[in-house]
Amino acid sequence: MAMFSLSKEATAEAAIEAAALRSDRFRQDREADWIRLEAIVTRMEKGRLRRIADEDVLALPVLYRTVASSLSVARETSLDAATLAYLESLVQRAWFLVYGPRTTLWSWLGRFFGGEWSRAVRSIWKEMGVALLLMIAGTVIGWQLVLIDPDWYYALVPTDPADPRVPGASAEALKGVMYGNQGQDGLSMFAAYLFSHNAGVAILCFALGFAFGIPPLLLLIHNTAMLGALLWLHDDKGLLIDIIGWLSIHGTTELLAILLSGAAGLHVGRSMAFPGERGVLEAAAAAGQRAAVVMAGVVLMLVCAGMLEGLGRQLINDTTQRLVVGYSILAFWLAYFFLFRRVPIASDAE
């Protein structure tokens, strides 16, 4: 008894020590790491990467693993729900950063041009073939329809009253449009407008592919039927080669871009209709990501097509030159897609 009263204070402290739960001592030992990780994560989430010290960036994966192991220990030993919830949310946030999209725009672009784009295009070659056939079929149908009854022209080609290109127009009127060199005003504006419009159409064409690929087929046929009608109109006046030149300078790029977006849409639709051995969800996701790469390229191609149409076609007024420009660009695209087979290193998609 005497001893007890002597060391009364000491025992009281020891009692606190003993009563403090083991799981609380575990928390006290590691709290500093948790708080440091939280501070780093919060700063990184705010996107202020430059303001974070290098040592903190290096510490992130290490701290992430430390805190993750704290979480798994705490799950087995602690019943403090608030601490567990805190650790779970902290590990989740850190996990998103450690395994988040790590690429910068530049390194992504590097990989994209350095092989990923052309590989994605090659992987949908079957759909490209189908799209090409459809586009040819559409052109032939358009031509034939107008050949049978010129009134079809008005149904296929949206004409505005000021447009001289209607059935029965004189060769001079048609030439006027193709070589008129409609002043050199506002060409770049025109190019920008064309790009924005065409990119919208291409994205739509892709998005519709989701519906098992049928709408893009119709869109492809409808658009090329218009082309066929336009070709017929000019052939009627012996201007076939001129209209081909007029269309080719930008059309090779633009039609290829439209073909690609239709093919990308088809690719997604096809993989959902026939997922093969994988589940529909996985098949759709894999195809969707490949198609997305193709589509990023399509938008870039449409920027080129817009510039060629708005600027190039107005400035180059000679059919031969127009054909040369148009088909050398087409040759470039095809060579890039099918001959450039470098495999991009360390894709983060895998």
Binding site: R102, I203, L208, A284
Partner: protein, 305 residues
Amino acid sequence: MSQVRPKRSDRRRTLVTPEGIALPLVLASRGTRFGALLIDLVIILVLMTVVTLAALYSGIGLLELVGKEFDKAEGSLKYSLEFLVILYIAVMFLFRHAYFLFFELGPRGSTPGKRATGIRVAARHGGRLTTEMVLARNLLRDVEIVLPLVALITAASEGGIYSFVSLLWFGVFALFPFFNRDRLRAGDLVAGTWVVEAPKSKLEVALSTTESAASGTSTATGASYKFGEEELAIYGEYELQTLERVLREDRHEAMVAVHEAICRKIGWNPGAGDERAFLEAYYTQLRARLESGMRMGKRKADKHA
């Protein structure tokens, strides 16, 4: 609480990290996502309106400066006007198609609307969220938002069987999240992503380390609370967590009620005025008991277990 629980557990998913730790994820509810979308659309519309007005004013200002009409503008004025139009078209295109991309590729994987509602995009298989995924999920927004809206407006204004069919068709895309368990929209399906809640909880103080909790002695009255084995054995982990919540919320009436309930259960005579110290002590000792059971591999889920 008991009514909310089954709903939430329906949205619970588990993600296994490469370290083998199972992380619980909660899918964002459809309402939250719709709210986030509305916020983003409002932001985009406001941005577009502001830019349009600014472009109009500066265009008109440029013309007034020299007192000419657009068609007759010449030289450097013409070029600056052209530049303005190109810039305008490019900015509009970016607002429409790149707004979501830009934000979802950032470290938080979420647009301002998603941030405001506390959700983010994540890869469905638990791996990295890649640029390709974010691209793919945002390429489908046209069929999910714009076309259904157009179809709705046409159906409402014109009627007829054709517009009704197209409304039905595009309605499928717009309402896609209602047709699957994971609340995927069409873009998520194609991209291999889903949208999850991104909770941020603060590190709360440990309840069991305050002096009265640790020693079982009330600092206010000096009363000592020591509970015996059978007095602690009646409750399990579920009750412990409820008690923790009551203590953290720190509402007097709730604590009085819980204090009374526990006293009745263990056959103590409920006093008044020292409820918090009593509950802290009971919480700490119950937790100590349950945690030492855990270490032995014995767990008690609730009072019925």
